[in-house]
Symmetry: C2
Subunit: 357 residues, 2 copies
DNA sequence: CTGAAAGCGCTAACAT
DNA sequence: ATGTTAGCGCTTTCAG
């Protein structure tokens, strides 16, 4: 019982009494082939419902036109939106994208990377998981000759000679904290993040530096690490609350963290922004529909995705002239109903006020 | 300048003074090979950093261990969550998933399907775009011998002999409308959907049937089609509002549509639920954080994804014994702060009340 | 237990 | 402009 055998070049060639090579060339628009022949080939191909076997093509051409994308999560606005952009941009360059989700799990991350190498993707974009510790896998990928680009989340410290496209995490959180200070808050907490990955490190750094610069004491018990998800926010707030001393405002390291804070506050009957205010890093499609509408530092997901693909393509086409280092994409402060001066709050209820950076 | 040449079976074989076949077998744990040999091969392989070339393997084995997944959107809770499940489940079966996003665009959909066939994926799961009109592509895929499974969104009418895993759209919307009626609303609108796809058709049908059954006149001007996204909800509400006669409650055909309704209501200063109430089909992670927390008919995304993969695997392994037809997955009514009896509303503010179906 | 031969479907280099 | 010859890296008979 042989498996369904597909139409091949040979079938088309046979029908036309020419060789497979001619057909192959014709189908790819090679200049060698005459117009008439080309037309005939195409006609027969479509009559037969021919579908080129990409595996064969890739194997032979030693080029897959595949791009690997590894992210820690997918069902979240930031990643969803970045992923969509990467897909679209890659397609413009005639590349298919293979998505892999690590679920913030280093083991899966390694395995995915191995699979991508195994598939001989032409390049890889990765946003590393929060728990990442061992970075040798990245050297291996590189040794395998596959261009690797870190996007948004980079191991800290970054592997030697790595290329990255990141968001201005430090600058963004400075914006956020300065806003909180401008409103008049002097007790400000920070929830989420960790030290393995740049985004946690830099955002928390921006927070502490800004406080220090203003001569405000940094209280370690108000810096609650613990990741980037909604649970981190929920648990983080709960820990803060149990300690008894709740700061007047908290800076959530990601949008999901802020969501968790909202949920926890609701559960504890803490009113936002009257009892405690919130501002966060990262936007979402529903940010403006929450009550109160959440103010944030927005990350330009589109630019992140576009730049990443652009640079990766560069790395694929000119492996030598890799510029290396990091492109940093600026952020933007979006003020809505949290973390705004109280009289302003009423005014802003309708549309968001945008402060360009 | 030859391209980076990877380690191959031959390299390992050479090092050990055996043939490539032996290595190939050893690496795959073929019983032919002795334990000692196996160990040696594995050792050398890992020393050399060998990574099997999956394209070559697939080409030769005429099996890709790839699964195609086509969805209209990704940056939305429902799809994000289904996608994640499909990835995980597929992995359990040793399958990689190739994701394609159609952006609700039929042309892209066709192209993606062609690409997947070209990659010789072993099976395809698709959630069709709302604008789908021509279903011949599905017959072609089938003719190419690739099992195809419709998930959630199926062309209406479904192609002959197709297999699908869907949600109980009709039953779910009956639940929603009955709830609205139970609260005492007699003027109920319906926003979103269209007639090309089952989910729109059936959800709207559930809405009209339930009203009729209760002897409530169905007012066509309160049934606003227009898709499944946030804009559809926003624009839909605006049209309703411009007409002047706003129903006491609206049923949003999807969660994003409800989000759009929230936004539009906010913009028009219509209070939910006091001025107009909302209930929708489809849940989200932030549903309970909206104000008021949104009541909905929830779709079990996990079960949807799991069932889909399970059945597709079945179809791949036993192409003959395709059962065909549709598996229908039941829904669940989740009441929060909208569309609940007014005195109940206060009581429910904290945690969600769940009514099992 | 191991290996030689053949081939998966396609492309690239080199004729003709 | 078209065809010939050789692989790409792996698996699958089928002999030893």
């Amino acid at each position: 019982m042989k498996k369904q055998s597909h139409i091949t070049l040979a079938d088309i060639a046979g029908r036309l009494g020419v060789s497979r090579v001619t057909v192959s060339k014709a189908l790819r628009g090679h200049p060698d082939i005459s117009d008439g022949m080309s037309k005939n080939v195409r006609r027969v191909a479509s009559e037969l419902g021919y579908s080129p076997n990409r595996m064969a093509r890739n194997l032979s051409a030693r080029k897959s036109h595949l791009l690997g994308l590894v992210v820690p999560k997918i069902a979240h606005f930031f990643f969803g939106s970045v992923i969509e952009t990467v897909y679209a941009k890659a397609l413009e360059h005639k590349y298919e994208t293979i998505l892999m989700v690590s679920h913030e799990n280093e083991e899966q991350e390694v395995q995915h990377l191995q699979t991508l190498v195994s598939m001989r993707v032409d390049g890889i974009i990765i946003s590393v998981s929060a728990r990442l510790k061992d970075t040798r896998i990245f050297d291996w990928v590189k040794k395998m000759g596959i261009p690797l680009l870190f996007m948004d989340r980079v191991p800290d410290p970054p592997p030697k000679g790595s290329t990255a496209v990141i968001v201005d995490d430090y600058g963004g959180s400075v914006l956020a904290i300065e806003q909180a200070l401008a409103v008049g808050y002097t007790t400000i907490g920070c929830i989420g993040g960790d030290r393995n990955v740049n985004i946690g490190r830099n955002r928390v750094q921006g927070y502490t530096d800004t406080l220090k610069r203003q001569g405000i004491p940094v209280r370690e018990e108000w810096i609650i690490a613990g990741g980037y998800g909604t649970e981190a926010g929920y648990n983080g707030f709960m820990r803060l609350h149990e300690n008894g001393q709740v700061p007047r405002c908290v800076f959530a390291v990601t949008y999901p963290v802020a969501l968790g804070v909202y949920a926890a506050a609701k559960a504890r009957n803490i009113r936002i922004p009257q009892d405690m205010d919130v501002i966060c890093f990262g936007d979402s499609d529903v940010g403006s529909l929450l009550t109160p509408a959440l103010s944030c530092v927005s990350q330009p997901t589109q630019r992140l995705g576009e730049e990443s693909v652009r640079i990766l393509m560069e790395m694929i086409d000119h492996p030598e002239s890799v510029p290396g280092g990091s492109r940093v994409i600026p952020t933007e402060l979006i003020l809505r109903e949290t973390c705004v001066a109280s009289k302003g709050a009423a005014v802003l209820s309708g549309e968001a006020l945008r402060v360009r950076n």
